[in-house]
Amino acid sequence: MAQPLLRISDASKRFGGVQALDRASLVVHEGEVVGLLGENGAGKSTLVKTLAGLHQLDAGVIELDGRSFRQGNPRLAREQGVAIIYQEPSLFPDLTLAENVFVGRQPKSGGRVDWSQMRARTASLFADLGIDLDPGRLARGLSIADQQMVEIVKALSLDARLIIMDEPSAALTNAEVERLLGVARRLRDQGRGVIYISHRLEEVFQVCDSVTVMRDGATVASAPIAEVDTAQIVRWMVGREITEMFPKVPAQIGEVILSVEGLSSTGEFHDISFEVRRGEIVALAGLVGSGRSEVVRAIFGIDPITSGTITMAGTRLSRHTPSRAMAAGISLVPEDRRLQGLLMPASIAHNTALTVLRRLRRAGLVRIGAERRLAEEWATTLRLRYASIDDPVERLSGGNQQKVVLSKWLATSPRLLIVDEPTRGIDVGTKAEVHRLLSEQAAAGMAVLMVSSDLPEVLGMADRILVMREGRLVDEISRADATQERVMTAAAGAAA
């Protein structure tokens, strides 16, 4: 075989007490899409961040094109032909989209930044990917999906030899994912190398030529895609069988817990009415931007509503705020965990206990021991990977962070648990656990409202599916009638 484009061998990296990489290896050839897989915290992001110049290995060798790769500086990495789409989009809210794409290397003419050329080049890149955004608008206020698309354009504009995509699809829905996979294939056909990190195995099978699986910072296996199946990959990843992805426990569906009537918010959503019952899991499906997050944020009292009523267990909620919603028994696991879900510099214990401090008090004082015990119990229940309960959550991997958000809200023992993209960025093993957890909670009498862009998850978990399109509720499908096509058709409208 020809000399590989990238060869990493014996890569090790330690963060304080955490061995993030432990003699990991990875090989990527020209014209190949390699799927990099592994549980949350396995070290995938750390490995590719090294290629992006953000980290420097403690030990190990990286060769790019047969030459030794110079580490430790993003600019240097870019010059050596590596581009990366990060797991967490990081745009500049005060800059235009065009400048976001070209930041740090703006085209110049006569020594000055050439704004019109920059816009034109961005517009053509956008057109190429079918992105309907004005390059001249500011990035502020862009939806996560759109942010992710701009990130992709940014990486493509670099014209790199090796393109790394770290969970690029986590925030996207099917249509955009399709487009993204198309891009990956095109890059492969142009002879470039692509590293594709994802927790959605079906995508991996669609686009990858080979897979490399990591566990505990080490590479456990590498194989051409044709020689593996899902079960095999999962075994490599978690070291055991996962019997059921969607362990739906049959639950007794009881009285109405949440009832929403005629809920409207100008410009966001219109005339939304539905109910969620005790023991029931209701999914809110739809395309990105259809307004699902807005609806659940309004129910939780974050966003104001212009009209309509929200009723919890027969009591109408007025002058709605998150603390009133919590008092009424509502919990919301928000979609953006870094900004909305967690206090990144605070400890796991503090994050977990934040919502239940009232319960942990004695004589007005918060009991620190009780707080830590609570956090440890939840960490055990959700199989959190952590060093110390007092470590800041920013040191956890993305998936483990999501588990902390879940514990924080499950700790409130809500009557209605709203989850917005609960398994975004979570590995298969944990995903199954989260599903089992939601299902058990429902069986124990909790009402669950789940916003999800992951169709198998919606179909696998929901008792009932509500579909939104352009801010309106367009369809309601029972579990028995639910099919992928029906949900998609409703979500995309007549055009689809």
Binding site: A52, G53, L54, N73, P74, R75, L76, A77, R78, Y86, S90, L91, F92, P93, D94, L95, T96, A98, E99, V103, G104, R105, Q106, K108, G111, R112, V113, W115, S116, M118, R119, L133, D134, P135, G136, R137, L138, R140, G141, K154
Partner: protein
């Protein structure tokens, strides 16, 4: 200056500029004495120093930093030049420039190194150097006062001169602000500052050498503060231990009024210059309108708060409008 960003930048400055024009017109209508142009000239002279300093400060505020030590640096330089002239029977322009740049750069390097490379918060560091430099300055100055007769002729000449009716001092500030605005809007170096202020960790990820940019901007600001010390001397032909005391907050206020938001990522030096002029115009207009001495400061403070609130509301509106326009089908 074409392109989306400068369009936004200009929009951010429109409200301040219109507030300034309205204020000047109103004053001129109500007080005939204000119409002669002398009033305007006085406003320009008084705002020159603040505007000059704001040009450097804007770079820092754009990056979510701040430098409060500028008043001490400027004061020290103005005294050192004056004192040297007093002891040596005069001083040349290059000598003065050397003192200004050397002292300014020294303070800037200390600030910059601590903030950029040790990642210390700039507010703390520069309050520290504010005291430190002021203390050294007072120690050197003691009770010595440098008076006009100890200064060479060119100091007074620049201080009192004008070009086409515009005071020299303001022309100097204007040139610096225009140059700085060009740097900010159309060089990669300048654009990097906006990126850093807009999202610091992301700036590092796209390969912007964040620490180097921060360091350079602090050194540049130090040098500008040093040169401002010369302006201070031109302006007053006098220096003692109180030179420049307390002007740092006016500089920050000028930037904020001029649309350089404390939260970083927006604004230009030109905006800060307009902010500086507006700040002075408020004071002069109140006097010209016959507001009592005791009420003037209170009313000026209230107007300052209003200006900040107004700018914020208008800025929100214009961002929304631009995004709406951008989202409209083409």
């Amino acid at each position: 200056m074409s392109g989306g960003l400068s369009r936004v930048a200009r929009l951010r400055e429109v409200p301040v500029l219109s507030a300034l024009i309205v204020l000047l017109l109103l004053t001129a209508i109500l007080n005939p004495a204000f119409r002669g142009g002398e009033g305007l000239k006085a406003i320009l002279i008084e705002s020159a120093l603040i505007a000059f300093l704001a040009a450097g400060q804007a770079n820092l505020i754009i990056m979510r930093h701040i430098d409060l030590s500028v008043s001490s640096t400027a004061g020290l330089v103005s005294f050192l030049i004056g004192n040297t002239s007093m002891n040596n029977m005069g001083i040349s322009v290059p000598q003065s420039l050397m003192i200004a740049v050397a002292v300014g750069a020294a303070v800037g390097i200390v600030n910059g190194a601590l903030v950029a490379y040790l990642k210390l918060p700039s507010l703390v560091v520069t309050i520290g150097t504010l005291y430190l430099v002021r203390g050294i300055f007072n120690y050197l100055a003691g009770g010595v006062t440098v008076t006009a007769d100890a200064l060479p002729g060119w100091v007074a000449a620049i201080g009192s001169g004008s070009i086409l009716g515009v005071p020299d001092l303001f022309v100097i500030a204007l040139i610096l602000c225009v140059l700085m605005t060009i740097v900010q809007t159309s060089t990669r170096w300048g654009r990097d500052l906006y990126a850093i202020g807009s999202n610091p960790p992301a700036a590092a990820r796209v390969g912007i050498p964040v620490a180097h940019r921060e360091f350079a901007a602090f050194v540049l600001n130090g040098i500008i503060a040093g040169l401002a010390g010369m302006l201070l001397l031109f302006r007053f032909s006098f220096a003692d231990a109180t030179a420049g005391l307390g002007i740092e907050l006016y500089v920050v206020a000028a930037c904020v009024i001029g649309g350089v938001a404390i939260a970083g990522g927006v604004g230009t030096a030109m905006g800060a210059l307009i902010g500086a002029v507006l700040l002075q115009a408020i004071t002069f207009a109140l006097g010209a309108l016959g507001v009592s001495q005791f009420w003037q400061q209170a009313v000026a403070g209230a107007l300052l708060v209003l200006a900040i609130a107004f700018d914020r509301i208008v800025a929100l509106r214009s961002t929304q409008r631009i995004n709406r326009l951008a989202e409209a089908p083409v």
